[in-house]
């Protein structure tokens, strides 16, 4: 288990993260359900975290993993506040379709 990157290669991890991040962007653009949009944002965060860990192993440096730890804390806080906002939107409007949120449009 000593040198995983020798057998897999850092490029494969870069490609995996790029595709995962693009899937997240695709989900944000494709769906109307706000909860699925949140899930897509989580997928994007995870893609970046994966690349952080890959390069932490590449450079043999613990700082990348510490940074992933902090980004997980931020993601948890973000999801909690975001879902609370969604619940209050649902109470006021009766749906969480993002195309219905046009109150600011005038």
């Amino acid at each position: 288990m000593d040198n995983v990157l020798n057998q897999i290669g850092i490029e494969n991890y870069i490609f995996l993260s790029v595709i995962l991040f693009s899937i997240g962007v695709f989900g944000v653009l494709y769906r109307r359900n706000a909860i699925i949009v949140f899930m897509s944002i989580e997928i994007m965060l995870n893609a970046v975290n994966l690349l952080f860990v890959a390069f932490s192993t590449y450079h043999q440096d613990a700082s990348g993993q510490v940074f992933v730890f902090f980004s997980m804390a931020v993601a948890a806080a973000e999801v909690a506040v975001g879902l609370a906002i969604l619940v209050s939107i649902f109470r006021n409007l009766g749906s969480i379709d993002i195309d219905n949120l046009k109150n600011l449009k005038g």
Partner: protein
């Protein structure tokens, strides 16, 4: 093909497939379940890197806390039915084209700017066990660690305030 490479391919296929299914499934509860599978396979990637601490934290935070939040919200809003209308066709095609373009562009960028990939040599130094990570976290990154706790506390108070019923 080595065993590690085969494991990597299987894990990547599971990750990408469940991520796609998260987006394409109509029922939000099924989406949440597929997202759990995606997160577990990413934890498998972390284990492949021998980053045990992050794998455990990832499973606890994402598959435990965040997915429970999602499932609670979906059930609270009674959304577990498949009545969502699609976006207009042109927006969906634009999203697909944007997905392909973004993949191609980002891959080309990273191909050009990739680091000099020599043989990856291990010095045998321990850098990612829980012991070392704990020392780094509480010595070098002490202040950000405390700020993270303040952030979590603020998020908790904000969530309680936001989801409280307004008095009429």
């Amino acid at each position: 093909m080595s065993v590690v490479l085969i494991i990597f391919c299987v894990l990547s296929a599971v990750t990408l497939g469940s991520a796609f299914l998260t987006i394409f499934t109509k029922n939000p509860i099924h989406s949440a379940i597929y997202l759990v599978i995606c997160f577990f396979s990413i934890a498998g990637h972390y284990l492949l890197f021998n980053a045990q601490f992050l794998a455990i934290v990832h499973v606890i935070v994402y598959s435990g806390a965040i997915m429970i939040l999602f499932l609670f919200t979906v059930m609270l809003m009674n959304l577990n039915k498949e009545d969502e209308v699609h976006k207009p066709r042109i927006q969906r095609w634009a999203a697909a084209i944007f997905f392909v373009l973004m993949c191609v562009v980002l891959m080309l960028i990273f191909r050009q700017s990739k680091p000099i990939v020599g043989p990856y040599d291990t010095t045998g130094e321990d850098y990612q066990s829980i012991k070392v990570l704990g020392k780094v976290l509480l010595n070098e990154y002490m202040v950000p660690f405390e700020f993270a706790s303040v952030l979590l506390l603020t998020a908790m108070i904000g969530t309680v305030l936001l989801s409280k019923k307004e008095k009429k």
